[in-house]
């Protein structure tokens, strides 16, 4: 149970990255034994850096870390683990081809005859562990067959088995369904009762209010405040976080749906390992509406977005923009129909990290920024546009000539959004546009999408964030196993729980209901 004993304390941490960016300065906070301590802040506020320091991935230039009253130096993760600090990363560090039990004991497997893993003892010890912490999973399953929720539990168990007393969870709910999130929270409470301390990094205020005891707010690399959750409010936390008032709800007028501009019929796509990633998917996107595609990741949404933008070609099925067939066209030709695309992975498809911010802001409309004669770049016009977008999208940067890779994740996402949303787009394909970015940036991008909708553009929003789906979209389809599992013409009456059932395939609409979209 939570006591007032300070288990971990950090004092005046200063961290400077090799490129000169000061990621942490004057960072001070303390964690009490047996509490769930939230760490919240915008992107680039320095949360991840701070956690990396605690887990020994980065070393601070200055400052002290005090664990159980003694100053410690955490040079690497091995040291952190030996000190009883465990971390569950946002991207899981698991061996896909091994079973859950094997992953849990990996590195300190029980041995027999020196070389061989003692399977019986391994199973026994992992099962005991499951029982002790009240986790409900089958340790004989392979990781590659496990759901995201189970993978996360495996990660938590991995840390616990290694003796972690303090658990750092980096945005643990970002990839979970509401049901899985609920389960996770129950488990975290169990751990808390058993005396574990949890540091919970999140952007989601609701979750912090629900599960955390205290919250530390970071802004601009510095810790701003630490308070008891029960003494504060969502509005107060978010104000401190961004240093200004933000509207948590995007104001939205009812949709004025126009004619169909994007039409997909019976799309089939078979992925590299021969699995049908898309199985006869049909949809219609109308002008002036936001149609969201909800679903647990890996159920075909990514493939759908890639086909709609011409990045991959469907095996069969047809695709039309304003009645014209486009399924065999290249991305460049598809974009000519005023279609813009915010890709899911900003580092892979969204930017050229080594080029400057300016160079990243006009890639999709080069022709518009040429001098007479259409050969030479109009640097003046480009810089002006760049200054404007940096201002308009609140991109935090030293100069528009800095490399994109020097920015924080959220600011890179803003660069991507600024580039794509700044033209008079008619069809917007936005794939997880606010994933992993802070409330301020999310609000901005969401508001922009609604603005475009009101101007008569059609928006297809692929999102795993159900609150975003509910808040933004006019209509919703749910994908499960490469198929459209449900279609809701009006998102308004839906709840998170209801959506969750369809995402997991517990509930399923009939074909007639789904075909209502057509």
């Amino acid at each position: 149970m939570m006591s007032n004993k300070v288990i971990l304390e950090v004092e005046n941490i200063l961290k400077v990255y090799p490129n000169g960016i000061v990621a942490n300065k004057n960072v001070n906070f303390e964690v009490h034994e047996g509490e769930i301590h939230a760490l919240i802040g915008e992107n680039g506020a320095g949360k991840s850096t701070l956690m990396k320091i605690l887990f020994g991935i980065e070393t601070p230039e200055e400052g002290r870390i005090i664990l159980n009253g003694e100053e410690v130096k955490i040079e690497n993760s091995k040291k952190a683990i030996s000190l009883g600090i465990g971390m569950v990363h946002q991207h899981f560090m698991l061996v896909e081809s091994l079973t859950i039990a094997e992953n849990i004991v990996l590195g300190n497997e029980p041995k027999k005859l020196i070389f061989f893993t003692d399977k019986a003892r391994m199973l026994k010890s992992t099962k005991e562990c499951l029982k002790r912490y009240n986790f409900n999973i089958d340790v004989n399953d392979k990781i590659e067959d496990a759901s995201v929720g189970v993978k996360q539990k495996t990660e938590i168990l991995k840390s616990l088995v290694r003796g972690a007393k303090i658990l750092i969870l980096d945005e643990p709910t970002a990839v979970l369904t509401p049901q899985e999130t609920k389960e996770l929270f129950t488990e975290l409470n169990t751990l808390k009762k058993q005396g574990h301390t949890i540091i919970f990094i999140s952007h989601k205020l609701n979750e912090i209010m629900e599960i955390c005891d205290r919250v530390t707010i970071m802004r601009n690399g510095t810790t701003v405040d630490t308070t008891f959750v029960k003494d504060t409010s969502k509005q107060e936390i978010s104000n401190k976080m961004v240093g200004r008032d933000i509207v948590l709800q995007v104001d939205k007028k009812p949709a004025k749906r126009g004619k169909v501009c994007l039409e997909a019929e019976n799309l089939v796509y078979v992925n590299g390992i021969g699995k049908k990633a898309l199985d006869k998917v049909s949809l219609k996107l109308r002008k002036g509406e936001i149609l969201s595609v909800a679903g647990v990741e890996g159920n075909g949404q990514a493939e759908l977005a890639a086909i709609l933008t011409g990045m991959i070609k469907p095996v069969s099925g047809s695709l039309k923009i304003n009645g014209i067939k486009i399924e065999s066209l290249k991305p460049a030709e598809i974009r000519k129909n005023k279609l813009v695309y915010i890709p899911e992975d900003r580092m892979v498809n969204g930017c050229a990290a080594k080029l400057s911010i300016t160079d990243n802001l006009f890639t999709n409309k080069i022709d518009y920024f040429l001098k007479k004669g259409n050969i030479f770049l109009d640097k003046k016009k480009i810089n002006k546009q760049s200054e404007f977008l940096v201002e308009d999208f609140h991109i935090l940067c030293g100069s528009i000539n800095h490399q994109v890779q020097m920015l924080s994740g959220g600011n890179i996402q803003k660069v991507v959004a600024a580039r794509e949303l700044s033209e008079d787009a008619e069809i917007i394909i936005a794939e997880q546009p606010t994933r992993g970015i802070d409330a301020g940036a999310s609000e901005l991008i969401r508001r922009k999408m609604v603005e475009f909708r009101d101007r008569g553009a059609a928006v297809l929003l692929v999102s795993a964030d159900l609150n975003e789906v509910l808040e933004l979209s006019d209509s919703t389809i749910v994908m499960h196993n490469g198929k459209v599992n449900a279609y809701f013409r009006e998102t308004g009456n839906l709840t998170v729980e209801e959506l969750g059932y369809y995402m997991l395939g517990v509930k399923k609409q009939t074909e007639t209901e789904v075909n209502a979209i057509l």
Binding site: L14, V22, P331, P343, C351, I366, D367, F376, G398
Partner: protein, 364 residues
């Protein structure tokens, strides 16, 4: 406030690059000095010859500039392909074939010599473009590694070129393996008498400027840089990446071909290469030294040329093997390319600069 913060960190970084370059060169020379000390009695005078050799006479200094010309051509050619993230080394073969084609034209084509030279250069450029396009086509069509193909292709070009040379241009009356002499007047004019420095230096200056403008001021250069930086992103935003990759090799090959031609018409009166000249391979070194910035390619070329001429002088004066230069070059490149070399010092300096600004109130 924020700008000054970043500025000073950037200043630190610029200053640091200079320091790093200087210490890389210093260490390279120190090690070479040790090696030289083993082989001869007067290592100091040998080193002195290496350093000041090229400055001992005007003629010798002009040879540095002469050598710079083909090096720079190769460097620019490879630069364009590298910037598109294509590790195409066929510039070597392109330069060789370009030289051969222009030599043949210089021998046989009738007409005013100026016209012949222009024609020879353009033909050489086109030949070079074709040579470099081969790995490009294979890459775009079948995803063959352009590096492996181009390395092999260079030898194909050498022997194919030698075959053509033997069939078409070889002078049977020559005592050594050489072609017929070029037609009277078909040669790039000498610009300083008493040296072999030829007007090709103006051609190369033109190409340096043109490459720089192409790379940073035109839409093609922009597309090329985006594609080279992240091909998925380029594709995603509607850049025709296959076209960009192909044209980068065509342009690179063209420059290499013109380089071969310039070298041939400027320095020779008959074609006599029986080996690959090596400028295409040196180009990789230049690009590492110049950090892939076309504006720095001539500087890097000067550095390498100076070293080689100095080594030649040292060899003649003090009997130290000229190969010592290969050691120095190698060491400098290893130290420059090693990202972690002096990284700790750099980080300390960066931290200090950032902190100073924090304290002086220039916080972000």
């Amino acid at each position: 406030m924020k700008k000054t913060n970043k500025m000073s960190v950037e200043q630190v970084h610029t200053w640091f690059e200079v320091l790093r370059f200087a210490s890389a060169i210093f260490i390279a020379f120190a090690i070479s000095f040790i090696i030289i000390s083993f082989s001869i009695d007067s290592p100091f005078s040998a080193m002195k010859n290496l350093f000041i050799g090229p400055l001992t006479s005007f003629r010798r200094f002009s040879t540095v500039l002469e050598l710079m010309i083909p090096l720079t051509f190769g460097g620019l050619a490879v630069n364009i392909m590298f910037k598109a993230n294509q590790f195409n080394l066929a510039a070597e073969g392109a330069l060789f074939m370009g030289a051969l084609v222009s030599a043949i034209i210089a021998i046989y084509m009738p007409g005013p010599s100026g016209l012949v030279m222009v024609f020879a250069m353009i033909a050489a450029g086109i030949t070079g473009a074709i040579v470099c396009a081969i790995p490009g086509i294979l890459k775009v069509k079948w995803k063959c590694s352009e590096m492996v193909v181009s390395l092999m292709l260079n030898y194909v070009m050498l022997y194919f070129g030698t075959y053509i040379f033997n069939q078409v241009a070889r002078d049977p009356n020559s005592a050594y393996k050489a072609s017929y002499t070029f037609r009277e007047g078909v040669t790039l004019s000498n610009i300083i008498s008493g040296t072999r420095l030829h007007s090709g230096i103006f051609i190369v200056i033109f190409f340096v400027i043109a490459t720089y403008i192409f790379m940073f001021k035109t839409k093609w250069g922009y597309k090329l840089r985006v594609t080279g930086s992240n091909i998925n992103f380029a594709k995603c935003t509607g850049i025709g990446v296959a076209g960009v990759i192909m044209s980068s090799q065509l342009i690179g090959g063209f420059i290499a071909g013109v380089g071969g031609s310039t070298e041939m018409l400027g320095m020779y009166t008959r074609f006599q290469w029986s080996e690959l000249p090596g400028y295409g391979f040196d180009a990789v070194i230049l690009n590492i030294l110049a950090k892939e910035n076309p504006a720095y390619i001539p500087v890097a070329a000067f550095f390498v040329a100076y070293l080689r001429i100095g080594a030649d002088y040292m060899y003649k004066q003090s009997d130290v093997a000229a190969e010592i230069v290969a050691i120095i070059e190698g060491l400098v490149i290893v130290l420059i390319a090693a990202v972690a070399f002096l990284a700790k010092l750099k980080h300390k300096m960066t931290t200090k600069a950032s902190k100073n600004l924090l304290e002086s109130g220039g916080a972000q």
